[in-house]
């Protein structure tokens, strides 16, 4: 590599890949540019553009079927894991298009983590192993001491450490739903992503657990860029600083009707449809 050449993620050396990640400060800038998505011939998203800024929690809101989860899944290339899925546009992570040929998909997903609607810890693994699963899957080697540190650090950041520190050897599935979800957050954090995508992370949880997760999101937002899909208007208002309202009217693909500061979207929406939705008049 010649000096001055831009370093893109795919040129990192083997040593970089195998080294256990150091905690990173500040998230990355993620930007969707003209993103369209299809399932078969059914177009579900049309030319959606949205910048997602570091240090900011971006909430994606909108009624069911408006394409916000699909949009989220295009951001770490999980969209294409569905056989009939197609994609157009660009998703730039710190300026580099993650769909660029030659870009390793595994590397992309490692820097853009994802937490799913239903908690999905690996059933055959203990709590501790679940946290380090991402490293193992990526072939990183961690010494015993580093491993213990990493587990403690990630579980602390996910707000779960005090509850599980004495039972790291128990199966992940022995935890409650809310704890499992926080375990999944810790698992995502262990590979040190710059962005964390959350697809309705609280929709299967009780209010208490929801509260804990929202706290976790607030604590993480300075380190990781967070994008969260939520059906819960209050949650969007509570945790996000930036908000995008998605809408798909009958038979047309989803678009972003309005995006901006959460305050503005909730208190002074420019579009009447946004106003109707955030005030609970439909959806």
């Amino acid at each position: 590599m010649t000096p001055g050449e831009t370093v893109v993620v795919s040129t990192s050396t083997l040593d970089d890949l195998l080294a256990p990640p150091e905690p990173r400060r500040g998230g990355a800038r993620l930007e969707a540019v003209n993103v369209s998505a299809w399932f078969g011939s059914n177009k579900v998203l049309e030319r959606v553009s949205l910048p997602m800024l570091p240090g900011v929690v971006t909430a994606l809101i909108g009624p069911s079927g408006c394409g916000k989860s699909t949009f989220l899944r295009t951001l770490n290339r999980m969209h294409e894991s569905v056989a009939s899925a197609k994609f157009a546009g660009e998703v730039r992570l710190n300026g580099n298009d993650i769909y660029q040929p030659g870009h390793r998909i595994t590397q992309t997903r490692r820097s853009i983590g994802m937490v799913f609607q239903k908690p999905n810890p690996f059933p055959a693994m203990t709590i501790g192993d679940n946290v380090t699963a991402g490293l193992k899957l990526n072939g990183s080697r961690v010494s015993r001491g580093e491993r213990a540190d990493l587990i403690e650090r990630c579980l602390t950041r996910a707000g779960l450490w005090s509850e599980v520190k004495d039972r790291l050897g128990e199966p992940g599935q022995a935890l409650s739903g809310g704890q499992q979800q926080r375990l999944c957050i810790a698992r995502s954090l262990a590979v040190d992503p710059a962005v964390l995508l959350m697809d309705e992370p609280c929709s299967a949880l009780d209010p208490g657990s929801t509260n804990r997760i929202e706290e976790t999101i607030r604590e993480l937002k300075d380190d990781v860029t967070i994008v969260i899909v939520t059906h819960n208007m209050q949650q969007a208002a509570r945790v996000s600083q930036q908000c995008a309202f998605f809408l798909a009217t009958q038979g047309t693909p989803g678009i972003i009707v309005e995006a901006g500061d959460t305050e503005q979207i909730f208190n002074d929406p420019k579009d009447s449809r946004t106003s109707d939705y955030v005030n609970g008049r439909f959806g």
């Binding site: 999980m78 894991s81 595994t106 994802m114 239903k118 999905n120 899957l137 599935q173 698992r187």
Partner: protein, 340 residues
């Protein structure tokens, strides 16, 4: 009229009065009819299966009376000398079946993994029916294939194994592997070649069971692995395989049950030898089913009883193996998510 009496607390009753009530399930006549006929058919199948076991067991009584425990320890089968036993037969049966499983396990596992995890969607159904078709080929065809096509080539593998691993008893052959004109006939008709033929019949069975449990590995955990940056193989190793452990073991054991009973292909290939030996590459072995098929035609009534006794032993073995297999497969299907 006042509501007060209705709202008053129920008077204390004797605790014994509080018995669960008999509740009529309230089935419609159609449901009732279906329930009864399904139960009748189910019981018929059980009854037929049970009567086979009872018939075999009953026929075995005279043999057990006459030979006692020596029936299990004697390896010779010489009715004219009144020397009969199934130790060599059982050993050969297990040997051939194990060879078949050792050969077919990796093939079935990789086939099932490829079909369920790697093959493109448009090829999948074609591949599934192709593998299922392997099970539909009559075993005599596999026997002929193995005898005429496979055997002349497989003996080179046998010889190579004997040359390089001959220090292990199972790979030893009583012939000089390095002789200039090596004795090909020492390597033919062996348990190894019979096992290869049987493996062709166990692959589709094991692959079908494994594929169906792989397909049930939960999507949520699969996506979780991918979202962490896993390669497909990493995902398979951390999600699909742990989830399917029971099915993998169960499928292999079902295949083992199938292999234990395989007759025609084995009968075609082996040359009967009643030695207690584990030299699987060497000419000559015997299995229970091929013993029965080979001697059934001109057996006297006493020999017939002995053959049926051998059949009874085989019946019990396969029953045990299949029961274990069913337990494993069921466990994998219902509760792996909470296992370990």
């Amino acid at each position: 009229m006042t509501l007060a009496p209705a709202l008053a607390p129920t008077p204390a009753v004797e605790p014994d009065d509080d018995q669960p009530r008999d509740i009529d399930p309230g089935l419609s006549p159609a449901d009732r009819l279906f329930q009864h006929s399904a139960r009748a058919i189910g019981l018929t199948v059980l009854a037929i299966f049970g009567s086979i076991g009872i018939f075999l067991g009953y026929q075995a009584i005279p043999t057990f009376r006459h030979y006692g425990w020596s029936f299990f320890t004697e390896n010779e089968w010489q009715p004219q000398l009144d020397k009969l036993g199934i130790s060599a037969v059982i050993l050969g049966t297990v040997e051939v079946a194990l060879i078949a499983i050792v050969v077919s396990f990796p093939l079935a596992l990789l086939t099932a993994l490829f079909i369920s995890e790697y093959s493109p969607a448009r090829l999948k159904s074609g591949l599934v029916s192709l593998v299922d078709l392997m099970a539909a080929v009559p075993s005599i065809v596999y026997g002929l294939w193995a005898f005429f096509l496979l055997q002349p080539r497989a003996i080179y593998v046998s010889r190579w194994l004997n040359q390089h691993l001959g220090f292990l008893p199972i790979f030893k052959v009583d012939a000089d592997p390095n002789a200039a004109a090596w004795q090909q006939s020492s390597y033919t008709s062996s348990a190894f070649i019979a096992g290869l033929a049987v493996s062709m019949m166990t692959i589709p069975l094991a692959a079908a069971v494994m594929r169906s449990v792989f397909a049930q590995a939960p999507l949520g955990e699969r996506e979780a692995a991918f979202a962490l940056g896993a390669t497909r193989w990493g995902m398979i190793r951390s999600v699909v395989i742990p989830f399917s452990q029971g099915g993998i073991i169960g499928g292999s054991m079902l295949a083992l049950g199938r292999a234990l009973g395989e007759t025609i292909a084995v009968l075609l290939i082996i040359s009967p030898a009643f030695d207690l030996k584990i030299r699987m590459l060497e000419v000559g072995t015997i299995t229970t089913s091929s013993l029965i098929a080979g001697l059934f035609g001109d057996a006297t009534s006493a020999q017939l009883s002995a053959l049926l006794t051998a059949g009874f032993v085989l019946f019990c073995m396969t029953l045990a193996v299949n029961t274990f297999a069913a337990v494993f497969v069921n466990r994998s299907r219902s509760g792996t998510a909470t296992e370990i």
